[in-house]
């Protein structure tokens, strides 16, 4: 029973460390997990009746960008570079389908899920595109149904080859383009930053303009200071993003509460194990005291007793580690379905917890054995 309780306690402790660590991985980890953790928000200036028709008032100046990067909660600021040349897109197989489009680029570190094909070097004729999932939804549920056009899945869009026609009539060139990924984070048609810089240089009609949209990496967008800052500057952003962050805060509280609960349970199971040690020694009290009387060294007897409990403790921890590893493996499989990534093995905080548990339990066993032997 004591062994089971120690096993359960350790398992819970490891699982809660793992839950906490997995959240950290999802929220702040290096893995390219989509739309979690540090929130990314797109910022623009509100278009009002006063600044309508005056594009110079809805762009961000250099000083405003610097002010933003120093704003509360803001960790990184990126500029959305847009095209300054006409662009058309046409379905390679069917020239009837064509549309004027706009293109934007952000630094790669702001892209939620970077596809493998996401690079462009001068001379490449094929341009990778990341499309906002929102656009696809608009097409599928708004446009296609009303126009009698086929609805398209993500993979079928990715299979299509497009022609991208760039530049004014006097300097017009055609590239091939392919949708390589979808983004929840940035509502835009994204091409690699290197390409938009090259194309603006080559086909651009006017000089480099200030950006009208920024992408921000924000620690906690629901933070009141940050929200006040945005309001005072009259900046507009997506309110949904702010709401999601409240959910995230709740999740974090739950994760910490799980941790506290696990520590409590671990404490209780250590207590049960200590009682088990004391009971075992109390049961063996007569034999132990007789051994002392026969001349056995108390240090030797302590060691002997500890050697009985330590394998039990280690077995409990091994079982707990196996449970934790299985749980992590299941979680990593399960989380793939949500387009997220987690490592298949428990990470180093779990191993640190294992190590600390072993050290603390060995110490606790030692203390309990010494205490119990004293009473003989």
């Amino acid at each position: 029973m004591a062994w089971l309780s120690l096993c359960a306690g350790t398992t819970l402790l490891l699982l809660s460390v793992m839950i906490w660590w997995n959240f950290q991985e999802l929220l702040y980890g290096k893995n390219e997990n989509d739309s979690l953790g540090n929130s990314f928000i797109i910022l623009s200036k509100s278009v009002t009746n006063d600044n309508m028709g005056r594009p110079d008032l809805t762009v961000f100046s250099q000083s405003e960008i610097i002010a933003l990067s120093n704003a509360p909660q803001v960790q990184d600021v990126g500029v959305l570079t847009s095209n300054r040349f006409p662009a058309y897109i046409a379905l390679n197989a069917n020239m009837d389908f064509s549309s004027e489009i706009f293109l934007e680029a952000v630094p790669d570190r702001f892209i939620d899920k970077k596809p493998l094909e996401w690079n462009w070097q001068q001379g490449n004729r094929e341009i990778p595109i990341i499309l906002s999932r929102e656009f696809l939804n608009l097409y599928n549920y708004g446009f296609a149904l009303s126009q009698g056009l086929p609805q398209l899945s993500q993979s079928s869009i990715q299979a299509l080859a497009f022609d991208l026609v760039l530049g004014s009539p006097e300097l017009r060139e055609t590239y091939s383009a392919r949708v390589v990924g979808f983004s929840d984070r940035i509502t835009s048609v994204l091409v690699p930053q290197s390409f938009i810089e090259f194309a603006n240089e080559k086909y651009g009609r006017n000089a480099a303009a200030f950006p009208s949209r920024l992408i921000l990496n924000v620690k906690d967008p629901s933070n009141t200071h940050f929200v006040q800052f945005l309001e005072s500057k009259n900046y507009a952003t997506n309110a949904e993003q702010l709401r999601w962050n409240k959910v995230r805060a709740v999740v974090e509280v739950i994760a910490s509460a799980t941790g506290l609960l696990a520590i409590l349970l671990m404490g209780i199971s250590v207590l049960v194990f200590v009682l088990f040690i004391e009971l075992t020694i109390a049961r063996a009290q007569q034999s132990l005291s007789l051994l002392l009387q026969l001349g056995y060294d108390p240090g030797y007897l302590r060691k002997f007793m500890m050697q009985r409990f330590i394998p039990l403790m280690l077995a409990a921890i091994v079982v707990a580690v196996i449970f934790a590893a299985i749980a992590q493996w299941l979680a990593s499989i399960f989380i793939v379905r949500m387009n997220l990534q987690l490592p298949a093995l428990p990470g180093f905080p779990v191993w640190i917890a294992v190590f600390l548990s072993i050290v603390l339990l060995v110490l606790q066993i030692r203390i309990s054995v010494i205490k119990a032997m004293k009473s003989i």
Binding site: L290, Q293, G295, Y296, D297, P298
Partner: protein, 214 residues
């Protein structure tokens, strides 16, 4: 190894002990290595208490016990264990065997502590005291006399300077007493050890150098 008792008086018996009522209590005595000491102690005079005090099991007394100049009360557990394992052996009045273990296991527990006596020698001792056929019997199934012989053999399975015995032959017939006495005398001579034997009645099992009345 010399034993010195100085003004020894167990707390529970303190009031009963008068100036000249005992040769041991409240006296200063010394026992030298190799001496055979007999202590005659009628019931209630503290025979077992004395053996337990000498063995370090009781600390509720006034006065001092010195083992080779070292204060017994001042020794820590490890020093006492060292003393018991190598210099001081005992046959308890209540024997104190592991009742759930066999005769052989009981002896092995003691023998392996110092590993100074061969297993063959242990079997020979069992043979001499007539309990070899009880080698694999559980201690609790032995008669008291048989248990007493196991306890005596156990006390001989380590090196010792002194052998303490508390009514060691109380349940043995005279033939078995003779066998046990000869074995004890032989082993203690080999160890050049002293004997302190406490009993209710006067006896001449050994050639005593000192006979004291408790």
């Amino acid at each position: 190894m010399e034993i010195i008792l100085q003004q020894l008086a167990p707390t529970p018996l303190k009031d009963k002990i008068t100036e000249n009522s005992s040769d041991v209590w409240k006296k200063t005595l010394s026992f030298h290595k190799g001496e055979h000491v007999f202590i005659q102690a009628p019931s209630g005079t503290g025979k077992t208490t004395l053996i337990h005090i000498l063995y370090g099991l009781r600390t509720d007394y006034e006065g001092e016990v010195h083992w080779d100049g070292k204060l017994l009360n001042g020794m820590n557990e490890t020093q006492q264990a060292h003393l018991r394992a190598g210099f001081l052996s005992v046959v308890f009045q209540d024997l104190r065997l592991f009742s759930e273990f066999t005769t052989w296991e009981n002896l092995e527990i003691k023998r392996t502590l110092t590993n100074t006596v061969a297993q063959q020698r242990v079997e020979e001792m069992l043979q001499r005291l007539g309990i070899l056929e009880k080698k694999n019997a559980l201690a609790k199934t032995l008669s008291y006399g048989e248990q007493q012989r196991v306890a005596i053999i156990r006390a001989l399975l380590q090196p010792f300077d002194w052998l303490l015995m508390d009514e060691p032959f109380s349940h043995l017939d005279s033939v078995n007493i003779d066998k046990a006495v000869s074995l004890i005398a032989e082993v203690s001579a080999a160890n050049n050890a002293g004997i302190i034997l406490a009993d209710l009645e006067r006896n001449d099992y050994f050639l005593y150098h000192k006979k004291l009345f408790l």
